[in-house]
């Protein structure tokens, strides 16, 4: 029993170390001017001061947040509406929606933005707008994660019966779905949203292909910095990591607070 506990603890420690060591090394590298021998030398915050005082960096981060949040909100709303229709009125459509939402798994990488560009460059405004294309493409990329999160949670809480119970108490189907069912699944859906956020935050291929130099995001800023300074690159990675962590923490905190209030 004790041996089992010890080996479980050891496994957890190894996993945590495996995940943290690269991050800690990056942090250390960003805080010292030299790291040639075993120990780094000349502690400095210059890399951080430089990127914090660079307006381009903040604009890039702002753009990244924008192109992350907007597709997630839009995609969640669209999938919820689609799920409402399939769940309530057309359950037989569910299998087709599932196939449709799984397709983006198969056309990831560079294929998707190239196809989008080929299709939309000659179409009239606003459909050929780069930001519009970028947001729409990200909506496709995150579709499987958002769909699966919502679908699993709907099934998990027995949404159909809850809607029927609400109907018997005087609610319409629409009201029952969006005012009773949706608040109950949002805790579970938050995980899908965070996953989607991480995917968009870490993307370089799609944004570079679709927007190029017209719309610099955090990943593209990072790519530019990589050519100039190793310390600054590490500092950008650490700051981006902290921003993602902060956004995730905020999302979970809001969810938790809502739950407590409820």
């Amino acid at each position: 029993m004790d041996t089992n506990k010890k080996s479980s603890k050891l496994a957890i420690v190894v996993i945590i170390a495996y995940l943290l060591i690269p991050l800690v090394m990056t942090l250390i590298y960003s805080l010292f001017e030299e790291w040639i021998d075993i120990l780094p030398r000349n502690f400095t915050l210059n890399a951080y001061i430089e990127i914090f005082s660079d307006a381009v960096f903040w604009i890039s981060v702002g753009r990244t947040i924008l192109i992350s949040v907007v597709p997630i909100i839009l995609c969640t709303i669209i999938v919820l509406l689609a799920m409402y229709v399939t769940y309530i009125y057309k359950p037989e459509w569910d299998k087709y929606i599932q196939i449709l939402c799984t397709i983006p798994y198969a056309v990831q990488g560079v294929i998707l933005p190239i196809c989008v560009l080929a299709l939309y460059t000659s179409v009239p405004k606003p459909f050929n707008n780069r930001i519009f294309l970028l947001i729409s493409t990200y909506m496709i990329v995150i579709l499987p994660y958002i769909y699966q999160g919502i679908r699993n949670n709907l099934q998990g809480i027995g949404a159909k019966k809850i809607i029927e119970a609400a109907q018997m108490l005087g609610a319409s189907k629409f009201y029952a779905f969006f005012r009773v069912v949706v608040p109950n699944i949002m805790n579970g859906v938050t995980v899908s949203i965070m996953l989607s956020m991480a995917i968009i935050f870490g993307d370089f291929v799609i944004v570079n292909t679709l927007a190029g130099g017209h719309f610099q995001t955090a990943q593209m800023y990072l790519y530019d910095v990589m050519k100039k300074s190793g310390q600054r690159t590490c500092a950008v990675i650490i700051v981006l990591f902290l921003i993602t962590l902060l956004i995730s923490a905020c999302a979970f905190f809001i969810q938790r607070k809502k739950k407590e209030e409820a």
């Binding site: 027995g158 018997m168 108490l169 005087g170 609610a171 608040p183």
Partner: protein
Amino acid sequence: MSYIEFKNINKFYGSNHVLKGINLKIEKGQFVTLLGPSGCGKSTLLRSLAGLEEVTDGQIILDGEDITKKEPKDRNIGMVFQQYSLFPNMTVEENLAFGLKLKKLPQEEINERIKKAIKIVALEGKEKSYPNNLSGGQQQRVALARGIVMQPKVLLLDEPLSAIDAKLRKSLQLSIREIHDKLGLTTIFVTHDQDEAMVMSDVIHLFHDGIIEQSGTPVEVYTRPVTSFAASFIGNYNIFEADKISKITGVQWEKQVAIRPETIMMSRTPIENDDRFKMEGIIKEHIARGNVLRYTIDVNGIEIYADALFRSASIFNDNEKVYLSIAERNCVCI
């Protein structure tokens, strides 16, 4: 005119004819049970009354009004589901207030009604609890309170006790019946458990394969089954073809005969009573069923089931010879 009327109700799922021309009348204030095995159409009829299923054909009248095409929210019918279906993110109080708020009742009246409903189902002190923090029995009582707090015209109970353990189920059966008597609410209860139907109902409608096989009080349905299905589903009757019962009793019968196992007398010595059918048999096996022992007896190659109270002094052994007697009045022609 009856309070609730189902007129020639038909329901198809694709080519599957689930309800076959159901005609049913329910009086105000009655506790009615729709009884039958799974897939017989009893829940479909209940859900049609609630508005959760559309009927293919026919008319549903409630309190003189045709509600066949009405939305569930406009029918003023309360319903309790098998899986409770409480709203997980709301407290007991909020679950109860949900429908009342939609009705836009004044807050004072909402509070008053919630207090009353909580008292009826004996859940005082649990108002601020979430469904996940309550036991199965408590959750079902919340669901019941949520049904009655709306003061509906009819309360529908769709197998509400199936997910609850046997002991608690018995106590909830009595609670539900008591609440019904107290409020005088017209209640329709769906179950596949004949004992539950017997304990709770004023009237039982026995369903089989989309039709009502028999309707009547629990005593009528139990003692006078009209079909072989009714006899086998309620009371575990012995059902004999005419030739077999004629062979056992020595009297010519024209129809199938049903005999309740507990009406068959068993003895180690010949029974001296001229007005009963008498026969001899060999005990093949016996099974304990609570306070009753069920014997399987071979009488001239025909199997008969007989029940006897579980008293150690009168237990018969397997392969023992027994004398049986059956009163003619207990032989029900079906």
